[in-house]
């Protein structure tokens, strides 16, 4: 199950990398879309529709709709104001889900999610093989989509916004429209990641919408290296494995070691593990 959790988290990190690493939009409320996707998939299943793929698409689309609606606010702000707004939106949705006990199960979580077999043939087994293959397959497909986007003219425009948002209008760029598009896509991917979690674990806990989940995602991206596409994947892998190992060694204070890891990486490798690797390779190339 850890492997499928890593794949899902990597997909979630990829979605944040699209807006943070490429467009420079710092978000502390990205779990809102992850959670919205998770609850949508879970509620669909509980309502009698347990087909995984259509459930995934519908959940991603629902998260994307929320992303599109909020993008009009997001695109107007930068820096600290943006961080506060994303944080506020995340907290709002978390509390709304907590209040809507009749729909979400509130703090008890959404129970009774039952998924139909994948492609009508592969049931979600106890060992998690189907869950892993399914999560990995979705991660692979969406990774290819995000890679294409980052290599496209829109990807270049997003990098332009990250580099100098105030210059963009002076070359005729509708920056806000670009941001809205990227933010909506990131919400779709985060929603897909949330849906995967709900479908593969057959439960939705309230913490899918928590601030901690958003903050941890940021930590993963910083660890791996933002704006490098693979940074989110590497960061998610390192974070999840470290959490698994540290909590095994010290179940009560494992977060201490995550903090130590984060501080060490930021001090020694300010552009994350991939940034450090890139610098090392460049140095070797120069020396050769």
């Amino acid at each position: 199950m850890l492997a499928s959790q890593i794949a899902i988290t990597a997909l979630f990190a990829l979605s944040l990398d699209l807006i943070l690493g490429y467009a420079g939009i710092v978000s502390l409320g990205h779990a809102a879309f992850f959670g919205f996707g998770a609850y949508t998939a879970g509620i669909l299943s509980k309502s009698g529709w347990g087909e995984p793929l259509t459930g995934l698409v519908l959940a991603a689309a629902a998260a994307g709709a929320v992303g599109y609606a909020t993008s009009f606010v997001i695109a107007r702000f930068r820096h600290l104001a943006l961080i506060m707004i994303t944080l506020g939106l995340g907290v709002l949705l978390h509390e709304a889900a907590n209040q809507a006990h009749w729909l979400t199960g509130g703090a008890d979580g959404l129970q009774g999610v039952r998924m139909w077999p994948l492609f009508g043939r592969l049931p979600f087994d106890l060992y998690g093989y189907t869950a892993y293959g399914y999560s990995l397959g979705v991660l692979f497909l969406l990774f290819l989509a995000v890679r294409r986007l980052t290599q496209s003219p829109l990807g270049l425009a997003l990098r332009g916004i990250r580099e100098n948002a105030t210059r963009m209008p002076a070359i005729g760029a509708p920056s806000r429209a670009h941001i809205r598009k990227a933010y909506t896509m990131a919400a779709v991917i985060a929603g897909a990641a949330g849906a995967l979690l709900a479908q593969t674990t057959e439960t939705v806990a309230l913490d899918v919408l928590s601030f901690q989940r958003s903050a941890e995602l940021l930590v993963m991206l910083v660890l791996g290296g933002a704006g490098r596409l693979y940074g989110g994947l590497i960061g998610a892998l390192v974070f999840m494995v470290a959490r698994d190992r540290f909590s095994g060694i010290n179940p009560q204070y494992w977060y201490f070691w995550i903090g130590a890891l984060l501080v060490t990486v930021v001090l020694l490798l300010p552009n994350g593990l991939l940034g450090g690797l890139g610098r090392l390779l460049a140095r070797r190339e120069r020396a050769a």
Binding site: S152, P153, G155, N164, R167, M168, H178, K181
Partner: protein, 250 residues
């Protein structure tokens, strides 16, 4: 003949401070104008008003026959009114070619395409390269903007503007910070721009102004003091007063 850019009674105040008042300006198509005046005269403010960075409190702005007073800055750029900045305002971690390609893609309306890889837009990249070559930056296209020499960065500012194919180009001190010998070269490049293009530049170096401008606008205290050909401006006692300290200005 229709003016390329004109303003009628343009005014702007920040609180009680009036930074522009009653500005009536008419720039004919293809003309080369210099905008001069002492520090604080309101030259950059005027460019900011015309390009939509600040909304004017009073007055109207026309690009050709079309009123653009309330349009967003990016919409004005798409209509053909483009500016450069006094301080380099570039994309440090994009290469020069990427930056200009971005401007070309925006003009062509393909910058929102996300399903096709950028290298498949070969004609946009070629056009960006041509713009760089025309500004003597052809060999620097693959270098990151932050690694370019300062003078090259000033040229890249102009390249970004030209990539949008403007009809009116407003240059805010294009040679600011550039050594004197290089600034003449930079103005040679500006002088060689298409004759269809209307250019208005702010410049403090009077030798460059009198060499490259066909007409000069003098601003003092947020208002236009006079406008005319270089010899007329040079001979005007009011202008002499301004530059020799005889006039009071904000």
């Amino acid at each position: 003949m229709t003016a390329a850019l004109s303003t009628r009674g343009l005014g702007k105040s920040f609180g009680s401070l009036v930074v522009a008042e009653g500005i009536d300006l008419t720039l004919p198509r293809g003309e080369r104008y210099a905008l001069i005046g002492p520090n604080g005269a309101g030259k950059t403010t005027l460019i900011n008003l015309m390009t939509g960075v600040f909304p004017p409190d009073r007055g109207r702005i026309f690009l050709g026959d079309d009123e653009i007073t309330t349009l967003a800055p990016e919409t004005r750029v798409k209509r053909g009114l483009v500016r450069t900045f006094q301080i380099n305002t570039l994309f440090p971690h994009l290469t020069a070619l990427e930056a200009v390609t971005l401007a070309v893609c925006e003009r062509r309306g393909v910058a929102n395409v996300f399903w096709r890889r950028l290298p498949t837009f070969r004609d946009a990249i070629d056009e960006a390269q041509q713009v760089l070559v025309s500004l003597r930056l052809g060999d620097s296209g693959r270098r990151l903007t932050r690694e370019l020499a300062y003078g090259q960065q000033r040229l890249l500012e102009i390249a970004l503007a030209l990539a949008t194919r403007p009809s009116v180009l407003l240059l805010d001190e294009p040679a600011a910070g550039v050594p004197r010998e290089e600034s003449a070269e930079l103005f040679d490049v500006i002088d060689g721009l298409s004759e269809d293009l209307t250019v208005l530049f702010i410049e403090h170096d009077m030798s460059l102004v009198f060499r490259f401008a066909r007409r000069i606008i003098v601003m003092v205290g947020g208002q236009i003091l006079m406008e005319g050909p270089p010899e007329e401006v040079a001979a005007d006692p009011r202008v002499r007063d301004v530059y020799l300290g005889g006039a009071r200005h904000a």
